[in-house]
């Protein structure tokens, strides 16, 4: 067969394309046959040899799971008593029923500071949000209203401790709901320091100003009248 001069390069290009396609296909098939060896998220990795206590606990947890699933089934099969009978089923009597009064009592172990006291109480915030070092409180309106100031730092993105100081003002009031006294939150507001000098700690109070000490020993004030930080 004769070839014209112009058809030769075309044939070479076609052959080249075919070779490229075959190479690509071979690479693809090869990759299928030999998947990457880099660790995959779902790879089941070999376990270290569990200790005897690990094995015992794991078996106990497995037994608990089995028991829980059995209980879930049997719970629904348990004969349900008549509602009238259950209505007569009385809870035990509380010891502190008489203590439910609509005024705040002093918090134990408070250290008097200014018109209030410094206390260590469980803050009403998760450590995912704020890390609270301590608090100061004062009562007003015949002890039916309580103002808290919590001091600490703003938590980082994973709940880490940060240098961003914060005070949080919270106002609570006793209200009566269904004939029973209850504590209602009137306001919660956070104030962050302009300088990131570390977590804040309340050390005292002068009139309406709280004295705050940062981790870096810097002293600052928080003025309750103007709700602002004041440098000494």
């Amino acid at each position: 067969m004769k070839h014209t001069p112009s058809s030769k390069p075309k044939a070479i290009i076609q052959v080249g394309l075919v070779v490229l396609l075959i190479t690509a296909a071979a690479t693809f098939l090869g990759a299928l046959a030999n998947p990457p060896v880099a660790p995959r998220a779902n790879a089941v990795i070999p376990l270290p040899t569990p200790t005897v206590s690990d094995l015992q606990r794991n078996a106990a947890k497995d037994a608990q799971a089995l028991l829980a699933s059995q209980q879930a089934v049997t719970a629904h099969q348990t004969p349900a008593p008549a509602l009238a009978d259950v209505a007569r089923k009385q809870p035990r009597q509380p010891l502190a029923a008489a203590a439910e009064i609509a005024v705040f009592q002093p918090i134990p172990n408070g250290i008097t500071a200014g018109s209030g006291a410094i206390v260590q109480v469980r803050p009403p915030f998760s450590n995912n949000q704020y890390h609270i070092e301590n608090a100061w409180y004062t009562d007003s309106a015949g002890a039916s209203k309580r103002t808290f100031v919590f001091a600490g730092n703003v938590a980082g993105p994973g709940g880490e401790v940060t240098d961003q100081g914060v005070v949080i003002l919270q106002t609570l009031q006793y209200v009566t709901v269904d004939g029973a006294p209850q504590v209602k939150t009137l306001e919660t507001h956070a104030y962050t320091t302009t300088l990131t000098a570390g977590s804040l700690h309340i050390t005292g109070a002068e009139s309406s100003r709280l004295i705050l000490q940062a981790n870096a020993n810097a002293i600052t004030y928080f003025d309750l009248a103007t709700l602002s930080f004041i440098l000494p």
Binding site: A41, N128, G159
Partner: protein
């Protein structure tokens, strides 16, 4: 040398071969994906209209998000009202998880009794007061809920303060055992309710040694029914942007694992507050730690969000996951890895309100 018609045929063959390879790869990939069967098995129903029902467990038990509460009272009538409200809010044939957090551990020397300082007033309440309040809640849930409704009630405290001791842990566990005994006392209400102990264990709240001692005290009188749910945080724990982070306050990852799973009664119901998924990532990594270091991943008994609390006591920038979002974040995270793949218990959302 290739003729044009041959060239076309070859191209067709190559295309067919490639197509076959691709379809084979797809088939192989599907067969090798270990998640496929489980995804089907554990599929949950997304929020259905306004009922917010999802499912959990191997039997795909339906659940509705429960209203957990920070408690500032132990008033019996208040607790009765709250229990009844939760009963009415729980649809027939669904389960719900409710945590009643009564505050920080305390010991009252004059009455020689263990208890808590409740929120708000920080007044002392004994374990007897808390048991009575919890029983009132349980009783009214039974009376007000429809047939087939089921309540997991967690009565909790926290690892904050000097009252976190081994003795307090034992007293708390005894209280839970007593409530469990009251539930089955005739007339038994066990067909609709169960009781569990709880603790909001957060590294920054208290020392690792005191917290472990509290858990050990709880375990010392554990009766294989009064489980302990840790509904705390993993503050400072590793996550994708900080894989070498360690828990705050000198805790180790082993400490978090121990109080959440390692102790025999312990199970995690983690706070999944952050909208960007970091908390779900932290707890997935904790579960993976359990798998790789102790041979067992976590069985998460549920999730806790604070969407309601943020509505009244905010601001909670980026920390106000809805209950559905928090639950879905953790579910997705643990089920994207064969090693941590598990069912996930019901979600619950906490509020500061002690009224309906």
């Amino acid at each position: 040398m290739i003729r044009p018609d041959m060239n076309m045929k070859l191209n067709q063959h190559l295309l067919i071969t490639l197509g076959l390879c691709l379809s084979m790869a797809a088939t192989l990939g599907a067969a090798r994906n270990p998640l496929n069967p489980a995804v089907t098995r554990y599929a949950y129903i997304p929020a259905v209209s306004n009922t917010n029902i999802q499912t959990f467990g191997a039997n795909n038990t339906a659940f509705t998000f429960g209203a957990s509460r920070y408690m500032s009272t132990t008033n019996i009538n208040t607790l009765k009202n709250l229990g009844c409200a939760q009963g009415k809010a729980t649809p027939a044939a669904t389960s719900t998880l409710v945590i009643l957090d009564f505050g920080q551990p305390a010991y009252d020397a004059p009455t020689l009794s263990y208890g808590v300082y409740i929120f708000g007033s920080y007044a002392f309440r004994s374990v007897s007061d808390i048991a009575a309040a919890s029983e009132a809640y349980l009783n009214q849930f039974y009376l007000c809920s429809p047939a087939g409704a089921y309540l997991y009630l967690v009565v909790g405290t926290v690892n904050y303060g000097s009252g976190v001791t081994r003795e307090h842990g034992a007293a708390w566990s005894t209280m839970i055992n007593n409530i469990a005994a009251w539930i089955v006392d005739p007339p038994s209400i066990a067909s609709k309710v169960t009781i569990l102990g709880g603790n909001d264990m957060e590294p920054s709240f208290g020392g690792r040694a005191q917290t472990r001692a509290w858990v050990d005290g709880y375990t010392s009188v554990f009766t294989n029914t009064s489980y302990l749910y840790n509904y705390g945080s993993c503050d400072g724990c590793p996550y994708s942007s900080c894989p070498s982070c360690t828990p705050n306050n000198y805790w180790s990852i082993e400490d978090v694992w121990y109080v959440s799973w390692g102790a025999l009664p312990a199970y995690p119901v983690p706070e999944i507050y952050l909208t960007n998924g970091v908390h779900a990532d932290q707890w997935y990594r904790m579960s993976l730690y359990g798998y790789t270091n102790h041979g067992q991943a976590f069985n998460f008994k549920g999730t806790l969000t604070q969407w309601q609390a943020c509505q009244t006591n905010g601001p909670c920038q980026y920390l106000d996951n809805t209950p559905n979002a928090g639950w879905s974040q953790l579910y997705t995270k643990i089920n994207n890895d064969l090693r941590t793949q598990k069912t996930l218990g019901p979600g619950s959302d906490i509020t500061w309100s002690n009224s309906n």
